[in-house]
């Protein structure tokens, strides 16, 4: 039996069939964008093709607005308190026609942020999220201080530096 098994290399054939199957799969799909999307375990050609990220990827902190275009944040300071590196600074204010407090300032020091998502978890009003941006490098230290009225990048829009990264859908 063992002799027969050695003489007829079925295991080797099975292994070759497996690698051959994957070779064919990749060979016939490697240069076609449509097929490629279905292949899960596949090298991502990152700078050229936008990279696929997990839905729960933790990127840069972003403030959200509701349907009327008003800031959802109500200045409960939960995020500011829970932040381990204390990168969030909020200044409370009042606005005409709005019951809840309104953030006059919402500052975010990205250089110290550790992207732990505690702020988002602590937020009771779903007013902040971490977006899917990860290409956040900049040349100047000032570029990491985000506020509500920044010119280059602010707390609402995705940062302009990530040329290839996906804006969240």
């Amino acid at each position: 039996m063992r002799l027969l098994k050695t003489l007829i290399p079925g295991d080797i054939a099975a292994g070759l069939a497996l690698t051959g199957k994957y070779f064919g799969k990749v060979f016939f799909s490697a240069n076609r964008k449509k097929v490629r999307a279905h292949l899960k375990h596949f090298t991502q050609e990152y700078p050229e093709i936008p990279v696929r990220l997990a839905p729960r990827f933790r990127g840069r902190l972003t403030l959200l607005k509701d349907e009327q275009g008003e800031i959802k944040c109500v200045c409960c300071l939960a995020c500011e308190k829970i932040c381990p590196t204390q990168v969030i600074t909020i200044e409370k204010g009042k606005m005409e026609g709005r019951k809840m407090p309104y953030p006059v300032r919402y500052d975010f020091e990205m250089e110290r942020c550790i992207f732990c998502e505690f702020c988002v978890e602590s937020c009771g009003f779903d007013s902040i999220i971490l977006n899917h941006q990860f290409e956040l490098a900049a040349y100047n230290r000032e570029d990491f201080s985000l506020g509500m009225k920044g010119l280059g990048q602010n707390m609402f829009a995705p940062s302009p530096v990530g040329k290839y990264s996906v804006a969240e859908d």
Binding site: I12, Y22, F23, V26, T43, E45
Partner: protein
């Protein structure tokens, strides 16, 4: 055809040698590229897709244009191709280090020995039976002369090839010894044991082909074995078995996975070429890939149908009156060689390395008896049917 004088013979010989060398020197780097790509694809990766920056240069702008149009650029497949030029340039320009305690003469000699043995074999291989084409009449000195399918039509071609190919092991063993270091020495010893023991089934697996064809001439053997003239239809059996035995031994002879014990990275740093660098290492590298091409050429010629379409002597199904498929062609030969080279890489992507005792088991306990049985079957078929 007028008889050629000495000068014409020499010039034609040189032209053929240069032609074969150019083909081999193109095929070897392409093989390294193919190796990256095929292994990558088999492991569900992409392999090499880019050479340098992805945002600068002509090809990059072309690529970005195609990305912008929503298409995957054609170049993304071939962008890894310039890597082989980079490989060659790196090997040539790298500093050539000889260890202080090494035996300088032998250390230098062994890569040369290795590469000469690998390339010398190409002289006896016939790439086409008979004359490939005639030189144009208008050319001086060589006008109208035939360009043969083989550099030298040796009438004991197979013997010559086997003899020269087995010299290659001296390059490895001597290089390992001259390095004066323990890992190369162990690699060299392993290599010697492995190649010497696999030389036996390799030759024995080729003997059925010799018996069935009744000649040792490379070209004649190939033509007889593939067209099956004067052979019994049963001859398919020994040829089929012999093909697999030969291929297995070929893997061992060229030190390829799963028999790459001489350069087992996990145990011996890099095996016999640990101390080699620069172009000397490049020669070993070149010799390994040239040996792969040689093994593929032999397997193609004797078992896989040679210059004809169908393998194992099945060509008799197609009559010679069929326009393209019934005739020998250089293209068929090259296609089959490429297929076998792909199999080499495919196996490397699949199988792990054998243990040393398993290697010897496979060689002595299975392959040699099997090839002897195969030889017996071939002899019975030759004389009884």
């Amino acid at each position: 055809m007028p008889p050629m004088n000495l000068l014409q013979t020499i010039v034609m010989g040189l032209i053929q040698i240069v032609a074969v060398l150019i083909v081999v020197f193109i095929m070897v780097p392409l093989l390294t590229f193919a190796e990256r790509k095929v292994i990558g694809y088999a492991q569900v990766r992409l392999g090499a897709t880019r050479t340098a920056s992805g945002t600068r240069g002509f090809t990059a702008s072309l690529n970005r244009g195609m990305w912008a149009m929503g298409k995957v650029p054609v170049l993304s497949f071939f962008r890894g191709l310039p890597v082989f030029v980079a490989d060659a340039v790196k090997l040539i320009t790298k500093e050539d280090i000889i260890p202080a305690k090494a035996d300088r003469a032998v250390f230098t000699l062994s890569p040369i020995l290795s590469v000469v043995a690998a390339f010398g074999v190409f002289s006896a291989i016939a790439y086409y039976p008979g004359v490939m084409f005639y030189m144009p009449k208008s050319w001086p000195l060589i006008g109208g002369l035939p360009f043969n399918g083989a550099i030298a039509d040796v009438n004991v071609g197979l013997l010559f090839i086997l003899g020269l190919a087995s010299v290659g092991v001296y390059g490895i063993v001597l290089g390992a010894w001259a390095s004066n270091s323990k890992y190369p020495l162990l690699g060299g010893l392993r290599s010697a044991a492995q190649i010497v023991s696999y030389e036996v089934p390799l030759t024995l697996s080729l003997l059925p082909a010799v018996i069935l064809a009744g000649t040792l001439n490379f070209k004649d053997m190939s033509v007889i074995l593939s067209t099956g003239q004067g052979m019994s239809p049963l001859a398919v059996i020994p040829l089929f078995i012999g093909f697999f035995i030969y291929l297995t031994c070929g893997f061992a002879e060229t030190n390829r996975v799963p028999f790459d014990l001489p350069e087992a990275e996990t145990e011996l740093v890099a095996g016999f070429h640990t101390e080699y660098s620069g172009m000397k290492f490049g020669f070993f590298y070149l010799a390994e890939y040239a040996n792969m091409i040689v093994v593929s050429c032999l397997a193609t010629a004797f078992f896989f149908g040679g210059y004809y379409l169908l393998p194992f002597g099945l060509q008799r199904i197609i009559p010679a009156s069929v326009p393209f498929l019934g005739h020998p062609s250089f293209l068929f030969f090259m296609a089959k060689v490429s297929l076998l080279l792909f199999v080499f890489i495919w196996v490397r992507a699949t199988l792990p390395r054998y243990r040393y005792d398993q290697l010897m088991d496979v060689g002595w306990k299975y392959l040699i008896p099997l090839s002897l049985v195969n030889l017996f079957i071939a002899a019975v078929i030759r004389y009884a049917f």
